[in-house]
């Protein structure tokens, strides 16, 4: 547990960057510090690993006052990820990942094992370990930047706008990865951002800061439902507040039964099933319903035509959501990635449902028209149908 009390940082010239900040962060929480530039969010973050020394106030970690600890030892226990990534250009990826273990004087086999185990976590091949940072793309570099913060089993990870310099698609992928790692490894993550979408998507609790003060510290839902001040309302933006109004729905309530095929079937079977069910996307699962990939029109045309089996023809990079995900997050993802549909999986990555654009239209329709959808649709249908009937006669 990390507890921050009356934390203040006054810079020379009397400017208060952080002004009597008080909050408590539980173990395993994902916290976002958000605010405009100059709101003190980065300064607050940097006081946690004592890159900036507080003017007054205390930070305690599990009851220990940080200011009484050795700053260097403390930083080795806290992961640190920055926007500029900051990988050492003269070191291989392996050496970059195991930089903190090296400082802690681990032996070589232990470091090598850590590097191998970690690079798997972020879906990069082991051969990358011997490359240099310049050979990797920005997104890949930041994956390594994240790994570097995990390598010595740090419990707390500080991230200073880690994905700010990446393109939207890469950023989205890395956000998912980070959230997944945080949940899986049970890390406490404190995250500075100025992107509200990012904060809502990732954080368990959001700390909104303005001119060095904490304006509101609460869960995303509570903040969206009850903005504390006009500043928070403005900061959220009216479009988010409107989105929030319809009762919070999860994907489980609106998803439909997906059409799936098991992987050992032939491509002909797959095509026949698609025609029979009149779908353009067919999900591929194994015998236990685990989602493996999908087939769509592209899988049967173009250069992939020569494939014989489903395993070869399918696209195995599926973007999915987990059960329990809020519908609005799912909608945002479908729009951002320009997807036609998105499968829903449970915690064992078993395929359980599907959200399509048509589904979403239905849901929006329901919220707008409430109880009268049936009459309305009937009326529309009869109105549009009658003239055609007359013409055909």
């Amino acid at each position: 547990m990390l507890s921050i009390e009356q934390l203040t940082k006054t810079y020379r010239g009397g400017k208060k960057a952080v002004d009597h900040m008080t909050l408590t962060i539980e173990k395993g929480e994902f916290i976002a510090f958000i605010g405009t530039s100059g709101s003190g969010k980065t300064t607050a973050l940097r006081m946690i690993n004592r890159m900036v020394e507080p003017t007054s106030g205390t930070i305690t970690l599990d009851g220990n006052d940080l200011s009484k600890m050795n700053a260097v030892q403390l930083r080795r226990q806290i992961g640190y990820v920055i926007q500029q990534i900051g990988l050492m250009p003269h070191m291989t990826i392996r050496d970059n990942i195991t930089l903190v273990p090296k400082l802690l004087k681990w032996d070589k086999p232990q470091k090598d094992e850590t590097a191998k185990r970690l690079i798997e976590l972020v879906n990069l091949p082991e051969s990358y370990l011997d490359m240099y940072p310049a050979q990797l793309s920005g997104g890949q570099q930041q994956r390594i930047g994240v790994l570097r913060a995990l390598a010595a089993n740090q419990d707390i990870i500080l991230m200073d706008e880690p994905f700010g310099a990446l393109d939207p698609i890469t950023r989205d992928t890395l956000q998912d990865l980070m959230k997944d790692l945080q949940v899986r490894l049970g890390k406490t993550v404190i995250f500075v951002t100025h992107d509200m979408d990012e904060a809502i998507k990732l954080a368990d609790r959001i700390c909104i800061m303005h001119e060095g003060k904490v304006v509101q510290f609460d869960t995303p839902d509570n903040i969206l439902a009850n903005p504390a001040t006009d500043f928070v309302r403005d900061f959220l933006g009216s479009h988010r507040l409107i989105q929030q109004k319809p009762s919070v729905k999860t994907v489980d309530e609106v998803m439909i039964q997906p059409i799936a095929i098991t992987i050992e079937k032939s491509l002909d079977d797959a095509l026949r099933l698609m025609v029979k069910k009149r779908v353009d996307t067919l999900f591929v699962v194994d015998a236990n319903d685990h989602l493996l990939g999908y087939l769509n029109v592209d899988s049967f045309t173009g250069p992939k035509r020569q494939h014989d089996t489903i395993a070869e023809a399918m696209n195995n990079e599926v973007i999915y959501v987990k059960t329990g995900t809020k519908l609005q997050d799912t909608v945002r993802r479908i729009l951002k990635r320009n997807l036609q549909n998105i499968p829903v999986v449970d915690h064992d990555s078993k395929l359980v449902g599907l959200i399509t654009r048509a589904n979403i239209v239905d849901t929006i329709y329901d919220t707008i028209w409430g109880d009268e959808p049936l009459e309305a649709t009937d009326a529309l249908l009869t109105n549009s149908a009658s003239p055609i009937e007359e013409e055909t006669r």
């Binding site: 260097v72 930083r75 310049a134 050979q135 570097r148």
Partner: protein, 229 residues
Amino acid sequence: MMEDLSKLSTWEQFTYYFRENGMYVLEQFMSHFFISVYGVLLAALIGIPLGIFIAKTSKLATPVMALANIIQTIPALALMAMLMLVFGLGKTTVIVTVFLYSLLPIIKNTYTGILSIDKSLTDAGRGMGMTRKQVLYMIELPLSLSIIITGIRIALVVAIGITAIGAFIGAGGLGDIIIRGTNATDGTAIILAGAIPTALMAVIVDVILGWLERRFDPQKKQQRLEKMI
């Protein structure tokens, strides 16, 4: 079997000189080389730590750099003459002169090298728990090594020239042979016998250190790696 040397062409005289005095030239070559190297090494020993120090304490950078600049403006012969009053005739005075001349390029390049490092790298290093010493040895020095080597290279090439002048105050070296040539009647071949090895030494030093410099240049390394993919 004394030949009449005046009947030979300059080139023949030159080769004759080498046949007769080859060992002597080599001896002077080594002596010349070591005077230059000692002076530059001494300057590196003082200049690199000083360069790092002024890069960290920005207040000292201007006065230190100004002082090194002033030394550089004094003509080599004048500086040597002044130092001679303290150190007397011989090698020591030349080594001290070379040392003083080498300070500026070495300090300046170390200072620039350290300052040119991306702040986010040292920030990341410190944030991960490196001590100041570790930041210096694991990040700052490796990344500025190529620029520091450039400074040493410039200093050493200049030093070889200064050492040649050092023959005037009895330090020996290839300058000795050049001066002998200027004093002799029709001494062109002897001048060449001193001047060509001096020039050769400067070029070789320049090429070798230039290669080292490229080897340690992180930017060049990146370009090499990018070509590999």
